[in-house]
Symmetry: C2
Subunit: 233 residues, 2 copies
């Protein structure tokens, strides 16, 4: 049943990562996104230690994300470095989130993730606007072609119509499973409404927001309870 | 801007009608629906007195509704009686809500309402299911043809997909302005989400619910505040 079980992802990073992961798990989050781009640049060993530290206290599935600055992240190294980071962390995590725009490394990272049986989220972020439907369709289709198990589209709403339109796209696109997020103040309701329209993942934070319009886990759960009153928190 | 200003209607009836109308006004409702079908059968004089009683304490626009049993109402008289009731109350109210299925009287009541400059809501209720899109389109089109200023579609959701589909219909239909309501437990979120999809009216109650899934005015306002955090309550 579409949207019957919205999956809540808590994005975490930083010194308190393990504590945050534990808190997320204790409070009913479904998955953890480890934002490896929001740490000071990590050596492979520190990277691996970071993931182990989180896994020690948290049994939730882990998504590893190393987001580029252009798509709202903090990664400042070059693509070779990013590829190495992805590959060294892969065996330890359950899924990766990589940008469709990561042209230089996406093919190798996706192939290796597939070979290791990991789930592949291919994402696209637009911090300025919500592209027209035809463009959304092209992006989703390209993400599928590039090997996405789950397509993720995050686009800024400059009007309520942008919000409605992205929800609609989520409902009508053949490129399921998909996660559609309408960013910004006007798009914020997408975070608890989009699951009704077939969007399978919604993101929250515990301390620092990782995207405009993102709610805390508690705020998101309160809102999801209102839209899905019959599903357990 | 679509949905920027969801209009909240409070449905009232019964002995405490005037008090309820006043409370609705004091608490930020936009319109009052006077459910004239939910009184014990009224003489023309009592009917007129009822409307006057409400108008004395409440300046909000009044919608007069005399709903048939088959469409969720309490009216038990014949169509001739219902026509007389509509015509005698018309000069006192701002809008009427009449069922598309009221084949015997709709044409005369709508003509007279138009002649008096009243707003005409033509409604359709389905307490069993949400008709397929083509049927929704036919109903909305017929309501427009019959003279509706506002089309109102209330249909029971048997799945979350019924809810999503009715919201989508609200967004895509050319027959605007429209009010789409997904009834029942699964459809309840439509009452605060549908305004995002171009549905112009949403209903609440203060004491007794007049439809499955309907919230109290306070509950509805709390939910609308979450979806439209920037608009005044």
């Amino acid at each position: 049943m579409i949207g019957a079980e919205p999956r809540v992802i808590v994005a975490i990073f930083g010194e308190k990562d393990a504590k945050l992961a534990q808190t997320a798990q204790d409070n009913g989050a479904d998955l953890i996104e480890l934002r490896l781009d929001l740490y000071p640049l990590l050596s492979v060993q520190t990277l691996v230690d970071t993931v182990h530290r989180v896994k020690e206290v948290c049994r939730l599935p882990l998504i590893g994300t190393i987001r580029l600055k252009a798509e709202g992240g903090g990664f400042q190294g070059d693509e070779g470095e990013r590829r190495r980071m992805f590959l060294s962390v892969l065996p330890l995590i359950d899924a990766i989130d990589i940008e469709l725009s990561a042209a230089g490394i996406i093919s190798e990272v996706v192939s290796e993730a597939k070979a290791q049986g990991k789930t592949i989220i291919i994402s696209h972020h637009n911090f300025y606007r919500t592209p027209p439907d035809t463009e959304l369709e092209t992006i989703a289709n390209s993400a599928k072609q590039a090997g996405a198990d789950i397509v993720k589209l995050a686009a800024t709403a400059n009007s309520l119509d942008d919000l409605s339109r992205l929800l609609l796209f989520s409902y009508t696109t053949p490129h399921k499973p998909i996660s559609c997020i309408s960013m910004g103040e006007l798009g914020a309701p997408s975070r608890f409404i989009a699951p009704l329209f077939g969007s399978c993942l919604t993101y929250a934070h515990l301390s620092d927001s990782t995207a405009p319009g993102q709610f805390t886990l508690y705020e998101l759960q309160e809102r999801l309870k209102i839209v899905f009153p019959w599903s357990a928190p």
